[in-house]
């Protein structure tokens, strides 16, 4: 592992200059690239989804191939809420978060025990079940056609979501920022260190008095809330919900994006999503039908060469991020 072993790590809780730059760039995009607002909005939403996955995968060592279960739940609840209850986006967001949080809590017991393989299969299974339920109950969800006729009301009763997606991007970016900073607080607090301790060595974690199961339930539930929020944002900013939100590719894409950016490093979710999205758009512009070939190749190289080594080198070049490399598992 070629990190900088003797260099002292800076106290992680302090906000550093490059972090401010990241957020300023995100905000500046709203002014300088209004044309790309819909794309930026999507990136903000998927970044939040990736941050959610990082909470369980990167910080707590819970692998998941079905994180779309919570994303899609948020999407459908927000869409149905806007359609049948009230169109107000904030209330709808809270409703979607409530339901996905509950779903996270209820399914958390399934990932407490077992190996990575059982966790992969169980999370995948839960997402498949939800997908088929949404497909089957098409009288509620619209099934394969998607849920039509969703109209999200104006934000705070004032700012209507425009077709150009500029209000949408600002809305999603704000939610991403707030939840990201909250997650940042949490992972630097004792709770967050407890999660890393559990990830690194659950036996030792229990031996110092950490209630391993309770903490894993808590973080899995929290991650479900985050994923549900991301899903709800998608429904509200596109006025649409479809099976795509629960599809396997969502779970896979978010995992790829997070791994690309680096697990166990909250910014990895954001940067990975940006990189993944740009890579996706760039490659599919060159070769529309075969883009997955190139994405696949990139990931094979990435995993074989070692994500840690590549991103540590990149971070060294840019002088950002933790000077310590990530996990060694």
């Amino acid at each position: 592992m070629e990190s900088l072993p003797t260099r002292k790590a800076i106290e992680p809780a302090r906000i550093r200059a490059w972090e401010i730059v990241v957020w300023l760039i995100a905000l500046a995009m709203w002014f300088v690239a209004p044309k790309y607002a819909p794309l930026l909005n999507e990136i903000a939403i998927l970044a939040l989804f990736a941050v959610s996955l990082d909470l369980i995968l990167g910080y707590s060592g819970i692998v998941s191939l079905g994180h779309a279960a919570f994303f899609g739940t948020g999407t459908y609840v927000a869409a149905l809420f806007a359609k049948h209850v009230i169109p107000d986006p904030i209330v709808g967001l809270l409703a979607a978060v409530a339901v996905s949080t509950l779903l996270g809590f209820l399914t958390s017991a399934l990932v407490l025990r077992g190996t990575d393989l059982t966790r992969l299969m169980v999370t995948l299974g839960v997402a498949l079940i939800l997908y088929e339920l949404a497909n089957r109950f098409d009288n509620i969800t619209g099934g394969a056609d998607g849920l039509q006729g969703v109209v999200t009301g104006p934000l705070f009763g004032t700012f209507a979501f425009d077709l150009g997606g500029r209000v949408a991007y600002l809305y999603s970016l704000t939610i991403l920022f707030v939840l990201f900073m909250l997650a940042r607080r949490i992972i630097n607090a004792p709770f967050g260190y407890g999660l890393r301790a559990i990830r690194d060595n659950p036996r030792r974690a229990a031996a110092i008095g950490i209630p391993v199961n309770r903490r894993l339930i808590a973080v899995y539930t929290l991650a479900a809330a985050y994923a549900g929020t991301a899903g709800a944002l998608l429904a509200q900013t596109t006025n649409f919900a479809s099976l795509d939100a629960l599809d396997f590719h969502r779970s896979a894409d978010v995992l790829l994006a997070l791994v690309l950016g680096g697990v166990g490093w909250l910014y990895g979710g954001i940067l990975g999503t940006v990189a993944f999205k740009l890579m996706h758009d760039f490659i599919s512009a060159l070769t529309p039908q075969y883009w997955q070939f190139w994405i696949g190749l990139v990931f094979v190289v990435l995993m074989v060469a070692g994500r840690d080594r590549l991103s540590a080198g990149m971070r060294r070049l840019l002088r950002i991020g933790p000077t310590r490399t990530g996990t060694e598992r």
Partner: protein
Amino acid sequence: MSALVLATHGLQKRFGGIAATQNVSLALARGERRALIGPNGAGKTTLVNLLTGMLTPSSGTIELDGDDITPLPPHQRARRGLVRTFQITQLFDTLTPLETIALVIAERDRVGSRLWRPLVANAGDTDEAAQLLATLHLGDALRQRAAILPYGKRRLLEIAIALAAKPHVLLLDEPLAGVPASESREILDTLAALPQDVTVLLIEHDMDVVFRFATRISVLVNGALMVEGAPEEIARDPQVRAVYLGEARYA
């Protein structure tokens, strides 16, 4: 009050047909310094695993301060002050010693589930952690990831974790295994400086250490307690000499 702090009653552990722990009844008084010795494979670590809840006994009970803790999971035993070290170092590899010890202190003080205040914010918050690490010669490695620490330092951190928990009963599973002589001195001094009311059970192969440290010695052979007594008695015991010293000669 010379109350029993830690006691086992007829503790048994079977792995298939093998009895790893056989009818062990052990009683430790408050502040006692007890050594547990026995040849390799005698079941010493298995006993520690049973005491700390990492293994469930096939039968028998374990009492801590008069309460039956047999059904309690490991973290609840740790929260009651029953703390162990591991023979094979068990650290949090991505955390630094400072973070590790700050976390142990947070868990000990029951603030481990806090979500807002940073664990390591400034030097003032971690005075206790830094001080403890300094006494165990880890002062110059406060901010290095545990994974890259040299073996001797990793052992010291292992001990530091247990001490930071301010145990009420401390189970030391070969704390000096593989520690260089210069640093084993530090560990022994630190253990000698533990408060008088801390009860210690020490598993150790180095007989000099055992006889210097322990006020009583229990000898475990094939999972069963063979004999128990003051160090002089154990040293004279012909059975112990046959089993233990005999083995040592060929080891």
